[in-house]
């Protein structure tokens, strides 16, 4: 079922891409414009995606064999954490957002006890802040907390 869902997703992407490509100026063979390559790629993609979709729907639906026990939710959790991180980063700055995401991941993956997980997240967050911010001079989103720690 998941395979059909992925094939359908690729097909929808190819449709949207081709529509966007055709909205650009395509030009001619002698004077190809900005939409020339996207239109060629989009058309090829649509054909390949349609063929793939038909193949997937003609195949019998694979029976789900079950997941790896309690870790079955881990991929979804990691996906959610990476998606939420930029939102948190824009509101809470580096230290708080990184700590929240890291602690959540460690708890999700059941690293030792919850207390050890939280403490590890705290240590890793601070270490990464010094490593990236101080050693590598990366400009990380900063607020009062980051400034106070840097001033120490």
């Amino acid at each position: 079922m998941k395979e059909r869902f992925v094939a359908l997703g690729i097909f929808v992407f190819s449709l949207i891409f081709l529509a966007g490509a055709l909205a650009l100026k395509v030009g001619t063979m002698a004077q190809p414009d900005a939409g020339f390559m996207p239109a060629a790629v989009g058309a090829s993609l649509l054909v390949a995606a349609a063929y793939n979709l038909v193949q997937r729907f003609r195949q019998p639906v694979a029976v789900n064999q079950g997941n790896a026990g309690g870790l079955a939710l881990a991929p979804s959790g990691i996906a959610a954490a990476t998606l939420v991180y930029p939102v948190l980063l824009s509101f809470l700055n580096y230290l708080t957002s990184t700590f929240i995401v890291l602690a959540a991941l460690l708890l999700l993956l059941r690293f030792k006890s919850p207390l050890v997980g939280v403490l590890t997240a705290l240590a890793a967050t601070l270490a990464s802040f010094f490593f990236f911010g101080k050693l590598l001079n990366v400009v990380l989103p900063s607020g009062a907390l980051e400034d106070a720690i840097l001033a120490l």
């Binding site: 004077q31 900005a34 993609l45 991929p75 990691i78 930029p86 990184t98 993956l109 997240a121 990236f132």
Partner: protein, 502 residues
């Protein structure tokens, strides 16, 4: 003589303390990456791409070369001692390497693997020196039709050789080309698929795509797997010496593996992996004792280990000479060069000889370091497997997130990373290979510019674009290479009995 002078310049660059440090660091990181199952050389190079921003371009290249070679070395350690291939190119080594270890010859297998890798690495670097120089000289005569031909042929080969379904590979390649179209058009300055987001004007950045598909997706896949560690076979220092008979039996396979690996490395696709299978099959066919294969034949370790290392040198040839990456790992190397404002290609040797020859010289040094590093520290590297996955995976996610953000301080890059990570995980689960997507994303913009310039130059006459001496030859060689196995297969097919079923 010219090559020797350039090589001396290379050693002058590579032997500076900073570059020596990065060669060692790369070899060390690469060995660890090779030992750890899951995060292969590609994923680690993608994850560490942002770190190279703080390095000089030459140091960054030296660092990556060390990782790539180191991963090939490290992969053999867990294959032999644990029957766990650290990365795909070490799968074949498990077959006979682990059997040898079970019979108490693990130390000898490790030494033969390391020495074969060293010999192959050194031979392939010599090949790279001469082949890349010659190819780069020829490439100076290339125009847009030739570069388009190389890009197109490279992608076609990649789709055919990447393993799995050809249609799925084709889809991935086309999606990569589609993503490569995002951003401002190079020739007319028109905005394409930017949806009013200024950060997309420069196109979809390579780094978040590579880190998403190979870093985050890999973490998500690993998170589902268990955390069991097999039984590690202990090896003492005195067990590391192979017998004279084992050494003699390894010379031929190591040399043959080196040659096979180098030439397979020139092809687009996962060449280190393919080269190990080809070498193993070749050695089994050539052996007077084929029945020993699968039961602990030393040839089954020496040949494939030489082949995967030689393939690394081969893979550098099209990148250094033409600026076209034929493997995903080389695409990451292009990404690193681009981050430093350097466009790889035939002019690289002319404009930045210290970089080109410095990398080559560092490969010699790196290979030597790996030989010294790997054998005495073999048990230390195996201990790395004891780091709990539950700690390692969140730290890799953190490195990916901060690494991507650190390049452009862009939130859009973080969203691209997350989305491509999720997409990469789902696609991998369904058997879609992400490598063609990444390569097409890198090659696509170059191909588009070359194609449109060619069409404008020849006023839309496609025949004139194709039937040029060099471009035509490239298409012809590719057509022969792609069609020959099909034709040979058809010719070999024996007529089936009317009612017979195979």
């Amino acid at each position: 003589m010219d090559v020797l002078q350039h090589l001396l310049l290379g050693f002058h660059t590579a032997l500076t303390p900073v570059n020596l440090f990065y060669a060692l660091a790369g070899a060390f990181v690469g060995t660890i990456v090779g030992v750890l199952p899951g995060i292969g050389p590609l994923g680690s190079m993608a994850i560490l791409l942002s770190f190279t921003l703080n390095m000089d371009a030459t140091a960054a290249m030296i660092f990556f070369a060390g990782i790539y070679y180191g991963a090939m070395y490290g992969g053999s350690t867990t294959s032999i001692l644990l029957n766990i291939p650290g990365e795909a190119a070490s799968v074949v080594t498990c077959i006979d390497g682990y059997k040898m270890a079970q019979k108490g010859r693990g130390g000898a297998a490790l030494t033969i693997a390391a020495v074969s890798s060293f010999v192959a690495g050194t031979l392939s670097i010599i090949g790279l020196m001469f082949a890349a120089s010659a190819l780069a000289d020829a490439a100076l005569k290339f125009g847009p039709p030739e570069f388009f031909a190389i890009g197109l042929v490279g992608l076609v080969f990649l789709v055919r050789l990447s393993g799995g379904s050809t249609n799925k590979n084709l889809l991935m390649m086309l999606i990569g080309l589609a993503l490569g179209c995002v951003g401002t058009d190079h020739l007319f300055g028109t905005s394409r698929f930017t949806f009013g987001i200024d950060e997309l004007a420069q196109g979809v950045e390579f780094l978040p795509v590579a880190m998403g598909l190979f870093g985050i997706a890999e973490v998500m896949t690993s998170a589902r797997q268990g955390d069991e560690l097999g039984h590690v076979i202990k090896v003492k220092m005195r067990d590391l010496l192979p017998t004279l008979k084992e050494l003699k039996r390894s010379v031929g396979p190591a040399l043959r593996g080196s040659v096979l690996g180098f030439f397979i490395g020139l092809l687009p696709g996962p060449s280190p992996v393919i080269s190990t299978f080809v070498s193993y099959m070749a050695e089994k066919k050539l052996s007077t004792k084929p029945e020993e294969f699968g039961e602990g034949a030393i040839e089954g370790v020496a040949g494939p280990e030489a082949a995967n290392n030689a393939a690394v040198g081969g893979a550098y040839v099209p990148l250094m000479a033409l600026g076209v990456p034929f493997t995903p790992a080389m695409a990451v190397v292009v990404g690193a060069l681009m981050l430093h404002g350097i466009t790889p290609g035939p002019m690289l040797m002319v404009e930045r000889p210290e970089l080109f020859w410095g990398v080559i010289a560092s490969m010699y040094i790196g290979n030597f370091m790996l030989l010294i590093l790997n054998l005495p520290l073999v048990q230390v590297f195996v201990q790395i497997l004891k780091i709990p996955r539950q700690l390692l995976l969140p730290l890799i996610v953190l490195m990916c997130l901060v690494g991507v953000y650190s390049v452009n301080s862009s939130y859009i890059d973080l969203y691209v990373l997350a989305l491509l990570g999720i997409a990469g995980y789902l696609l991998r689960e369904m058997g879609y290979e992400p490598a063609p997507l990444v390569l097409a994303l890198v090659i696509g913009p170059m191909m588009e510019t070359a194609m449109r310039e060619s069409l404008i130059l020849y006023r839309g006459d496609v025949a004139r674009m194709i039937f040029r001496p060099i471009a035509g030859s490239i298409y012809l060689v590719a057509a022969v290479a792609l069609l020959a196995p099909v034709v040979l297969g058809l010719l070999k097919k024996k007529p089936q009995p009317p009612s017979g079923r195979v």
